[in-house]
């Protein structure tokens, strides 16, 4: 098949190029850029803005080195991702090229990267817990298969360590790692962790390192999620790790800026919410097929930043990491109600009681800073707070089973309070207070 070619680029900017006139390219279709002298392939690009006077493309490999003579060859299809079971255990870049130096992967098929919305009627209401062995998650914010949930953390927090720890224990058939704007050591860390835990053979890594072409980073989640979907449609339970979506959002912001789009908050395009939602909504438990769970990482300076703020409205909760601890106060699993009623009868009540006491304790802690928490009850609360942080908010200890973690909760309450101070029902107190 002879493909149409365009022989002149009229405009080359950061990550974007334009050609004059209307060469007949369709929206979101892919073109290939070739060196005019030797027809060597330089990059692929995607048509994003078409008028009868000009056509604009996003260039996957960046625009450095492109000239006005660079040749454009039209492929007349939207961007697809290669899919093959042989991808397992391998590493790819943001558009699906082999990136581990190994042999090429023969793809079984090409899949669309458009991320069409799943019809809500084929979604199942998620009801299967994913146990992590981390009490702050299992007891207080139970993770559920098909959930979409990010870790919110400052840039220096060990969020990738936590992500990796959750991934090790997760009962998934396939792990899709999608790293955007990673530092090399982070990439290497994940690779080693996944190898050590024996999970590497069921993992596909899509990696975009900081400094790589921005457009490749921008496309990466779509490629990774399209591949994840294919496994999901096959009936597999897939876990997708997206780190870090703040990097991704920043690329989105840069590219919107190159396109002269009117910014909304802090320079991000008005579509930030929709763009994030389109990716996170791929998480689903699908009737008659498998499931896709997405655990992301969102780095932040402040919870009010547009990226964590929009993410919070999209995802089904968040795990909030602060000072290396998984904090109860701002963490939330929206799906926990679907699964924590069928565990032990004290699970829900003790979760609520401890959270409520912790909130009081935080108030006492603030009061103590101005020397006001001198009464015995405030002192109790302060001791409880320290105990709770040490024993419940630590995510990196030995894995603990749910029942043991619940017993540990009772131990903590017993250490500090009278039964009536807990707000727990008489029935539960009778059943559990004097246990052990």
């Amino acid at each position: 098949m002879i493909r149409k070619e365009i022989n002149r680029i009229s405009e080359v900017g950061k990550a974007l190029i334009s050609v004059e006139g209307n060469p007949g390219v369709a929206l979101n279709h892919v073109v290939e850029l070739l060196n005019a002298d030797n027809n060597q392939s330089l990059s692929f690009a995607k048509a994003i803005n078409i008028t009868e006077d000009s056509t604009r493309f996003q260039v996957f490999n960046g625009t450095q080195g492109l000239s006005t003579k660079t040749k454009i060859r039209m492929h007349e299809v939207p961007l697809t991702a290669g899919f093959s079971h042989n991808m397992l255990g391998r590493s790819f870049d943001g558009v699906g090229n082999v990136a581990d130096g190994g042999p090429d992967v023969i793809m079984e098929k090409q899949v669309s990267t458009r991320l069409d919305t799943l019809n809500p009627t084929v979604r199942l209401v998620p009801k299967q817990p994913l146990w992590t062995g981390i009490p702050m998650i299992d007891v207080f914010n139970t993770l559920v298969k098909s959930q979409k949930i990010p870790i919110f953390a400052g840039p220096t927090e060990p969020y990738n360590r936590l992500l990796s720890q959750i991934a090790q224990g997760a009962q998934a058939d396939v792990i899709i790692f999608a790293g955007i704007g990673l530092k090399f050591d982070e990439y290497q860390y994940f690779k080693e962790q996944l190898s050590q835990s024996g999970n590497i053979d069921k993992t596909i890594m899509f990696t975009h390192l900081a400094g790589d072409s921005q457009i490749k980073g921008l496309m990466l989640p779509d490629v990774a999620l399209s591949v994840a979907r294919e496994f999901g449609d096959e009936g597999k339970d897939v876990l997708v790790l997206l780190t870090d979506m703040t990097n991704w959002s920043n690329i989105l912001r840069n590219v919107a800026n190159y396109q002269d789009m009117i910014p909304s908050l802090q320079g991000y395009p008005g579509s930030l919410y929709s763009e994030l939602a389109k990716r996170y909504e791929v998480a689903a438990d699908i009737e008659g097929a498998g499931s896709i769970t997405i655990i992301g990482a969102t780095t932040l300076e402040s919870l009010e930043d547009p990226v964590p703020d929009n993410t919070g409205y999209i995802t089904e909760g968040q795990f909030f990491l602060d000072n290396g601890k998984l904090k109860l106060a701002r963490s939330l699993s929206r799906l926990k109600q679907q699964v924590n009623d069928d565990t032990r009868d004290d699970h829900r009540p003790i979760m609520t009681a401890m959270a409520s006491l912790l909130a009081d304790a935080e108030k006492a802690y603030e009061a103590a800073e101005v020397g006001a928490a001198n009464d015995p009850y405030s002192q109790k609360l302060l001791r409880y707070r320290t105990d709770f942080i040490e024993n419940m908010e630590e995510p990196f200890g030995e894995p603990i089973e749910l029942e043991a973690a619940l017993d540990k909760c009772w131990d903590i309450l017993r250490r500090h309070f009278e039964p009536t101070e807990t707000g727990l029902s008489k029935k539960l107190i009778e059943q559990y207070w004097h246990k052990n």
């Binding site: 007949g24 929206l27 579509s271 089904e316 909130a359 009536t420």
Partner: protein, 590 residues
């Protein structure tokens, strides 16, 4: 509208969901159009018409497209439809689940698990037979909104109406009582220009202009929502409007679900606008197995859902809210009490922001369109009670303020536009005090409701004072607070803990009806009024307070147990007595 000539245009610019087309004929502002892309027809709406700088004989039209435009090319054909964005109204609306453009999702799901551009299916079941009973006779003079017959729709009597845009007509023929589907003609009417019109049980109605009221009235009767903090302190009347802002994680969704389940209303319409798909799924899959509190039937029998969830095309978000509102107005016109939940109006506003940004409009605050407050007001104004039909449309809109900041434009405009304000507090949510509606930060324009205005004020006053004492304790310590103030603080704490907080997932506690609410109010008023004398002979101040706290702790534990257990009339009735005994410190009582 009668212009049957085919009017077309061709695409000259495409970006995201916005296109421009050149046309040579005529284009109507706001009309819909279909664009052929790769053999699929994509729905679009005209936003702006302007001159063509390159061609004096032509014009340019800017349109938003409700579906993904991948594959669209310059020169693709546009066909203008002549009609504005509309919704199909008729029997079968209830129990339906649509996307934002009224495509039935179950029907679409039969062909493909994914929603593809250009997919479409009839909004209402065209095969289902309905038992039509005529009420109009040949020779009757009818006009838009008049009833010509009815069909049973579940437990409702669904009136068959003359479309609202009809003027005076004479009934020329009408069918006998019969079992028919919505595509069949039920009557023929002749208008004043002697034009014949065939009427069917379903008709299309434009969504951006409201269906009129017969006789608009101020909301007077309070809705029992089952949520104590709302029904006691921030009640909403049938036909009222409420803005429900809250940062993420503050419990908007759980509250919306509680309202779906427990609000006493004939019909609940849910516009899941730009929010998580999973939440809408939970409603139509799990709620179908729950019982309607008033009828015992499946909850879905009183519901319809528009699910334009967050990953669906942005342009259809705006449409979904207007379509849902119009369905609500239609049932109000039929005389039903309708509650519409829009989750979230912020996503709707953001869709407008995305669009105006792409159109290159000069942005207002936070890049929202300058006229966003007026658009929000206009939307809420479509709610209301209709004394003429006896129906009402209550509009409860959630707001998702960026950064949880209530000063942002959409929250501010919503506060201005609505009669009630349920502000969810991050602090209360962090402390897992649900529902996290801040009792000290809401307004409600309903006066006497299930409890008197005076009782409500007394309760709020106590909460305010208790909050003040709490702040004092936090800043200067418990020691400096006099014992009687400490008791007041404990009373406030008790009202908050045992009355305002409610477990939405507990089978008994989740819903409180007015009879139980009266008993609770009686107990609360007794607790507030009661002067409690704790025996504290010779105790240190610190010990006294500890003793008081532990007595209140016991009361609270008892009351919380009561919340979860008491179900029979006798069990419920004991509460005020217990409070009296507590005030008298008859220890045995507890």
């Amino acid at each position: 509208m009668n212009n049957k000539k085919r009017r077309t245009g061709t695409l000259i610019a495409i970006q995201d969901s916005l296109v421009k087309a050149r046309f040579y004929d005529d284009v109507i502002m706001g009309e819909t159009a279909e664009i052929s892309v790769d053999g699929k027809l994509l729905q679009a709406e005209v936003l702006q018409i302007e001159p063509d700088p390159k061609n004096a004989d032509a014009g340019l039209v800017e349109m938003q497209v409700f579906e993904d435009l991948t594959g669209a090319q310059i020169g693709d054909e546009v066909v203008f439809k002549g009609t504005p964005l509309s919704v199909l109204l008729g029997p079968g609306l209830l129990t339906s689940i649509w996307d934002g453009l009224q495509n039935p999702l179950y029907k679409l799901g039969e062909t493909d698990p994914y929603l593809q551009p250009g997919m479409t299916a009839p909004a209402l079941d065209i095969e289902k037979l309905w038992d039509f009973t005529p009420t109009a006779k040949v020779g009757d003079v009818v006009s838009g909104g008049d009833t010509i017959g009815w069909v049973p729709e579940g437990r409702f009597e669904h009136k068959v109406l003359v479309p609202f845009d009809y003027g005076k007509c004479r009934v020329d023929s009408i069918i006998e009582k019969s079992s028919i589907n919505i595509t069949e003609v039920v009557a023929v009417v002749i208008d004043e220009l002697e034009q014949r019109h065939e009427l069917k049980m379903a008709f299309r109605q434009a969504v951006k202009s409201p269906i009129p009221f017969k006789e608009r009235a101020i909301p007077s009767e309070t809705i029992s929502t089952g949520v104590r903090v709302i029904d006691l302190l921030a009640p909403v009347g049938y036909g009222g409007t409420v803005g429900n802002p809250g940062p993420f994680g503050a419990g908007k969704t759980v509250l919306q679900h509680a309202l779906c389940k427990y609000a006493v209303a004939d019909i609940i319409i849910m516009a899941a606008c730009g929010e998580r798909a999973g939440e809408a799924v939970e409603v139509f899959k799990d709620f179908a197995e729950l019982d309607d509190p008033s009828t015992g039937e499946s909850l879905m029998n009183r519901m319809c859902i528009f699910g334009n969830t967050s990953s669906m095309p942005v342009a259809a978000r705006e449409a979904s809210v207007f379509i849902a509102l119009t369905v609500g107005e239609y049932y109000r016109y039929q005389g039903f009490n309708v509650v519409m939940l829009a989750d979230s109006t912020s996503r709707w506003a953001q869709a407008l922001r995305e669009r105006s940004g792409r159109q290159g409009d000069i942005p207002g605050p936070e890049a929202f369109p300058m006229d966003i407050p007026d658009q929000i007001k206009g939307m809420y104004q479509r709610a209301g009670a209709d004394a003429g039909t006896g129906g009402s449309l209550t509009f409860i809109g959630t707001v998702s303020p960026a950064g949880g900041n209530f000063q942002e434009p959409v929250t501010q405009a919503t506060m201005d536009a609505t009669g009630g304000f349920w502000g969810l507090s991050q602090d209360r949510a962090d402390a897992k005090k649900y529902p996290a509606i801040d009792p000290l930060a809401y307004t409600s324009s309903v006066y006497d409701s299930f409890i008197s205005w005076k009782d409500r004020q007394t309760m709020l006053q106590t909460l305010h004072e208790a909050n003040g004492i709490d702040q004092t304790i936090s800043t200067i310590g418990l020691k400096k607070v006099p014992v009687e103030k400490y008791i007041l603080f404990q009373k406030g704490l008790t009202i908050d803990f045992c009355v305002l907080q409610q477990n939405a997932f507990h089978k008994v506690d989740a819903c409180t009806r007015p009879d139980r609410l009266h008993v609770i109010n009686e107990a609360v008023q007794k607790l507030i009024d009661g002067s409690i004398q704790f025996a504290h002979n010779g105790m240190e101040d610190e010990e006294v307070k500890e003793m008081i706290k532990s007595k209140f702790d016991e009361l609270r534990q008892w009351w919380r147990d009561w919340n979860g257990v008491a179900q029979s009339e006798e069990e419920i009735a004991v509460l005020p007595g217990k409070i009296e005994q507590f005030i008298l410190q008859e220890d045995s009582a507890l």
